[in-house]
């Protein structure tokens, strides 16, 4: 258990270093991304050109306003992707629980949902600040934001459901079933900006510049490391609780 904690702390520090490095790389080495174009032809910039009123001219080139806000891509997107990924892992554990009926799978699934919820909250916070900077509003009911918000509510509902069932095995089964059904929102939320017109940018697509890709991947690895660390810490805590239960049982017997 002690080892688990040590590894977790090391992973968090490493993740922090990697993401911070990516953060600075995004300012210093990354080239400005050209999805859509920003030339004077007035071509609509799908990524940034949300507020044309504040377009500014420099050297005969028209820019969309929120160039700097774009840097959020290097931590907002990794966190969001990590939340999707961790929730997918939770759903896989839920399926395994339903097949094997072993408590350990239920615990893992629950911890994964919890980790995913933390990442979802982080995505929300960073996202809200970005929409404020980029769109000028704190929140907009737009397909990606809406489906992602629903995903967050589903995770909260997962814990509400768990708390309202007293029998341990029934709780685990219900939670697993709900986790699987709730997971269906993950592909919906992920794909929706690619399927229907949405003001949420689709930045990550083929043809990305290497200078952009490197910090992005660094941040992604860092975030996954942090995610795994959080999961491990919670697992260590869960182990400790279990040991506590066993000792209590021993004392009473």
């Amino acid at each position: 258990m002690k080892r688990q904690i040590q590894v977790a702390v090391v992973l968090i520090v490493l993740g922090g270093l990697l993401t911070t490095a990516a953060f600075f790389m995004s300012f210093y080495t990354a080239s400005v991304q050209r999805f859509g174009t920003y030339t004077a032809e007035g071509h609509v910039d799908t990524v940034f050109d949300i507020a044309p009123s504040s377009e500014q001219v420099a050297g005969g080139v028209t820019y969309g306003r929120p160039w700097l806000a774009q840097k959020i891509f290097y931590f907002h997107v990794p966190v969001a992707l990590a939340s999707f990924l961790v929730f997918t892992i939770a759903a896989i554990f839920a399926v395994m629980f339903l097949i094997k009926k072993k408590k350990s799978y239920d615990t893992r699934s629950r911890l994964a949902v919890e980790t995913s919820l933390i990442f979802t909250l982080a995505t929300m916070i960073t996202g809200i600040l970005w929409t404020r900077a980029s769109w000028g509003v704190w929140w907009e009911w737009e397909p990606r934001l809406t489906t992602y918000f629903i995903l967050m509510i589903l995770m909260v509902a997962y814990f509400v459901l768990r708390n309202s069932v007293s029998d341990e095995e029934r709780r685990a089964t219900y939670a697993a079933v709900f986790c699987i059904i709730a997971w269906i929102d993950v592909p919906i939320s992920f794909m929706i900006t690619r399927l229907i017109p949405s003001s949420h940018p689709v930045v990550f697509q083929p043809g990305m510049d290497v200078t952009n890709l490197v910090p992005f991947i660094a941040a992604m690895i860092g975030m996954l490391g942090v995610g795994y660390a959080v999961y491990m810490l919670r697992a260590a805590e869960e182990n400790a609780e279990e040991r506590l239960d066993m000792i209590r049982e021993k004392l009473e017997a």
Binding site: I5, I12, G16, F23, F27, Y28, T29, A30, S31, V32, Q56, A58, G59, Y63, R65, P66, W67, L68, A69, K71, I72, F75, H76, V79, I118, L121, A122, I125, T126, L129, W130, R132, A133, S134, T211, V226, A229, V230, L233, R234, A236, E237, A240, E241, R243, L244, I247, R248, K250, L251
Partner: protein, 62 residues
């Protein structure tokens, strides 16, 4: 390789307006992670204490 991409230098001069939001977002992100991790660690230490206490009791009993 120059440290700052030429396009970037030009652009940053224009749009420092968004900087507070981006930096706040990054800061809040890590504040949240750190807060959560500390929270878990505090709880862990508490549980450890409880375990030690109960194990003593078991040892005395046995």
């Amino acid at each position: 390789m120059e440290l700052i991409h030429p396009t970037n230098t030009e652009l940053y001069a224009l749009v420092l307006h968004d900087a507070p939001f981006v930096i706040a977002a990054y800061g809040l992100l890590w504040l949240m992670f750190c807060g959560y991790v500390t929270f878990i660690l505090v709880r862990l230490v508490k549980t450890d204490k409880q375990i030690a206490l109960l194990e003593d009791a078991v040892a005395k009993k046995g």
